[in-house]
């Protein structure tokens, strides 16, 4: 008969003791593994965010140009000045418009991509992601040339005898300007171009997750394609729209380069912050204004959650 005997272990070494400790206390191992990312997230990210928040309560001494470390609300009161409110309103309006446009443009593209297979699918993906692999600034200045008065778009419009259309658009108040590259319309077009991939990709992922059989079931139960789209595809794609819109909304809200290069000279939140902290050295006010997009995006996320956008994720 075979018997099982347990023999005493050799005397413990340091390595052995450490290993025993880690086996006995699972939480310790988990903590050791999570510590670096936690430190990164906690110190670098949250820490800088909190430092920013704290700065917002200080103020700049107008005479000395020094930051006075006294807690007060003067920066937040300054936010309510018409020029600042205007910049905030313009930025949020632009972010909403860009998000809506990206959603409308991304839907047909995402439907095609989700349905494509093999080489066709790879081609679609590359087409969407290729621009992301080149510099943002290069693409921005390329658009500057495209939209310029002597640029390709004006030229093409003239050749097609549509110059009147461009003129009419440029004459429209709010979105118009001397040329496309100096108009809010131009800013909008470039924003939409820049952030469209960030809407398409999550939308494709969401549409791909819709089981083909639910679409067949809808048709089988008597729904024509338009009803299937409205009642099944659209609601099930909403998490993708929500994810994509968080990108398009927040990226637009925070950008200060695109409106600098393309657009009339009106300011967006990002530009105001950039000028306050760079040129004026008013870090406290810049910090206070930075909270505007943070709060706006927070509200947006809360709204999206309330709409149930995250339920199906």
């Amino acid at each position: 008969m075979g018997t099982l005997a347990l023999q005493g272990l050799p005397p413990p070494t340091l390595r052995r003791r450490v290993s025993d400790l880690l086996v006995a206390r699972r939480g310790l191992l988990l903590l050791a593994l999570l510590l670096p990312p936690l430190l990164w997230f906690g110190v670098i990210y949250l820490g800088s965010l909190l430092a920013l928040l704290a700065n917002a309560f200080f103020r700049l001494d107008d005479f000395t140009g020094q930051v006075v470390r006294e807690v007060g609300l003067s920066n937040f009161l300054a936010l309510l000045e018409p020029a600042n409110l205007d910049a905030a309103r313009r930025s949020v309006g632009m972010a909403v418009a860009v998000t809506l446009a990206c959603t409308l443009l991304a839907f047909p593209a995402a439907l095609m991509m989700a349905r494509a297979t093999g080489a066709m699918k790879a081609t679609f993906y590359i087409a969407v992601m290729l621009p992301l692999w080149s510099s943002y600034l290069v693409r921005l200045y390329a658009w500057k040339l495209l939209l310029a008065k002597e640029g390709a778009i004006h030229w093409a419009a003239q050749q097609l005898h549509l110059a009147w259309l461009v003129e009419a658009l440029l004459a429209t108040p709010l979105i118009g300007g001397p040329s496309l590259s100096f108009s809010t319309l131009g800013t909008f077009v470039v924003f939409v171009y820049m952030w469209l991939p960030f809407m398409i990709l999550p939308l494709v992922a969401a549409i791909e997750r819709i089981p083909a059989s639910t679409l067949e079931a809808s048709a089988d139960l008597g729904a024509p394609p338009s009803t299937t789209f409205r009642r099944v595809v659209l609601p099930l794609a909403m998490p993708g729209v929500a994810a994509g819109s968080i990108f398009t909304f927040s990226l637009t809200l925070g950008d200060y380069i695109i409106p600098q290069v393309i657009g009339d000279s009106t300011l967006y939140i990002g530009q105001v912050i950039y000028r306050q902290q760079g040129v004026a050295g008013n870090i406290p006010f810049a910090a206070a204004f930075s909270l505007v997009p943070i709060v706006a995006i927070g509200l947006y996320l809360w709204f999206a959650k309330r709409q149930g956008a995250f339920d199906a994720v």
């Binding site: 048709a219 139960l221 008597g222 099930l236 199906a312």
Partner: protein, 322 residues
């Protein structure tokens, strides 16, 4: 008659089939035999490359799915995850523009019919597989289709639940009088539920008949072996034992007996106990013959290596075509 696919892949080939109104018809076959393709063509999800599909007097071959008087219970149920159970069931009525009050009342009525009251406000993800299956059934029936297509609807259920659903489905079909076209690879299911069975193999319809016809008089070797257990004898052993070129003998028709008048004799190679019966595998001159002997308390069965003599009635042997 319909077929599908390019010449290289013919999922279904030269299938010609008429199903009577109010019939419980089962397409039985192994996976990949073309039965699901057949169902998808009737539902409108695949187009046949040749042939016609008619429902009643209407040629629906080129009709899109949403215009066909046909509803499907999908294999994975395909419930809408973002809708409540009640809205799922009411979906076909909503699509047709019925008033909200009316369609919700109708949905509750159907949920009661499939014995699933009290879950109407839940989401599909909150139900068990068996419950989801009933919801799918209620949703497919609420629009009163002329034909209900069921694509292996019981495949994902465990045995007990499956047997219960079998008798419920059969009862529902009898009560509603709707034509059921049922797809399965499970021969027990096919035999116990159907008015008629069509046996599929490799894209062809091998036999159409009542369960008894298919079981007792299989048209081909494939049908004999796929539906129930069968001794299929061919060549020399067939001629020696049965006097036919190819024959089928059901194991439960074989009895043990005395050497006198025995049809065959041989040594027992294997004994398998199944509870209700015991299966012997007997070596009859090189061919293994199965004999299923009903379990009788107190009876002693031969063991491996024993010589036994096999008997059966004249009608038990069924000649198989080439």
């Amino acid at each position: 008659m319909f077929g599908s696919g390019p010449a290289s892949v013919r999922a279904v080939d030269r299938v010609s089939l008429t199903i009577e109104a109010g019939e419980f018809f089962t397409l039985l076959g192994p996976s990949g035999s073309g039965k699901t393709t057949c169902l998808r063509m009737i539902g409108g999800f695949s187009l046949p490359t040749a042939g016609r599909i008619r429902i009643g007097d209407v040629d629906v071959t080129l009709q899109p799915p949403y215009l066909r008087p046909v509803n499907t219970v999908f294999q994975d149920y395909a419930l809408f995850p973002h809708m409540s159970i009640r809205d799922n069931v009411a979906y076909p009525l909503m699509v047709r523009g019925q008033s909200r009050a009316r369609r919700l009342a109708k949905a509750d009525e159907l949920l009661a019919l499939v014995q699933l009251p009290g879950v109407a406000d839940r989401r599909p993800a909150q139900l068990s597989g068996g419950q989801r299956q009933r919801v799918a059934l209620a949703r497919a029936l609420v629009g009163q289709p002329q034909v209900l297509l069921l694509d292996e609807p019981l495949g994902a259920l465990d045995l007990k639940l499956r047997e219960q659903m079998q008798s419920e489905l059969k009862g529902l079909q009898r009560r509603l009088g709707i034509t059921f076209l049922f797809i399965t690879h499970d021969q027990h299911e096919a035999l116990s539920m159907s008015d008629r069975i069509g046996v599929f193999n490799a894209g062809r319809l091998e036999q159409v008949g009542t369960p008894a016809e298919v079981y007792d008089r299989p048209a081909t070797r494939f049908v004999a072996q796929f539906v129930g257990a069968a001794n299929v004898l061919e060549g020399d052993s067939a001629r020696r034992v049965t006097g036919l070129d190819a024959a089928m003998l059901r194991p439960e028709r074989v009895r043990l007996g005395s050497p006198l008048g025995a049809r065959a004799a041989g040594g027992v190679r294997e004994v398998q106990y199944f509870g209700a019966f015991t299966r012997l595998k007997v070596d009859v001159g090189g061919a293994l013959l199965q004999a299923d002997l009903p379990t009788q308390p107190g009876a002693t069965l031969p063991g491996v290596g024993d010589d036994v003599h096999l008997h059966w009635d004249d009608g038990a042997v069924h000649a198989l075509g080439a």
